[in-house]
Point group: C2
């Protein structure tokens, strides 16, 4: 029997237990059937989403496209209002579909680079295909630099254009 015990995961679990985490939802439709969970979680049903950060990084490198990572929670009203604005904005959706690898997560990863100023939701982080987290691409709030509100959609779109200007790869 092999022990799949990683100290890093212990830390993760300890953090998770003490934080407000989205519980797996059991969406029950009217006829008693659950609505299947989607990878988009409502952030753009017509887009192609990566499932995990590792998968997303792989596709970013393979296709030489920037990666957008959205951290959110299903029961967070700020996440919900941002999600609505995000999913309804045709420009955002079009540029993402054509030029980005995308991932949305309701659970933090073990990579601390994805939380340059802490773990909060909603938070949008760009990663260059050279696997460099673009901590320089920020929103308008100095205390939560990677947070966006529905009124910030144009800023987000402008930040997406910044992220499309790829860093020179040093690899």
């Amino acid at each position: 029997m092999i022990r799949g015990l990683l100290s890093v995961l212990f830390v993760l679990v300890a953090v998770a237990v003490s934080s407000s985490l989205a519980k797996p939802e059991k969406n029950i439709a009217k006829r008693g059937k659950r609505i299947p969970q989607t990878l988009s979680r409502g952030w753009g049903d017509q887009l192609i989403w990566a499932q995990t950060y590792e998968e997303a990084l792989y596709w970013a490198r393979a296709q030489n496209k920037p990666l957008m990572v959205i951290f959110h929670l299903e029961d967070c009203p700020h996440s919900a209002s941002m999600k609505k604005a995000f999913a309804e904005d045709k420009d955002v959706q079009k540029v993402l579909d054509e030029d980005f690898i995308i991932l949305n997560l309701v659970y933090e990863t073990t990579d601390k680079h994805l939380s340059p100023d802490g773990q909060y939701v909603p938070r949008i982080i760009f990663v260059d295909p050279s696997m460099t987290v673009r901590a320089d691409i920020t929103g308008r709030y100095s205390n939560r630099m990677y947070a966006y509100e529905p009124s910030d959609i144009k800023l987000l779109l402008s930040n997406m254009q910044k992220a499309k200007k790829l860093l020179k790869t040093e690899l």
Copy 2:
């Protein structure tokens, strides 16, 4: 600018590039709309799936339930036939719904404990809530110990019962 560069991810990318990986599918329905990707990927639309291994481990510990991890590929015929049998078996689906945390992945994780005898698909690995990979719970093929075929559904169900007998936690 922070560099989100992990050597372990380099290794992962190298492995991924050289392996036959499922490309993100652009399922286009008849009316030109894509069918939203589901977390179940057809292994049980009515079940509640974890998105990532870290999330799954968290829920396994929090709910003291064993975790089943299914590795598969969307364009692999063995995965497809196993998926069909799996999704249609009411006993399997019922026990999973009640007693298991479940995760299906089309991309390998960085945890080598999840590939005790190599990376292949389809492959089903159980993990105890004590975070111990149950390498002792195997299928019937000595060269691919964690592979199952549609005719092995009863064996899988029996293995699920084994996984439900939790190990004494040593934590």
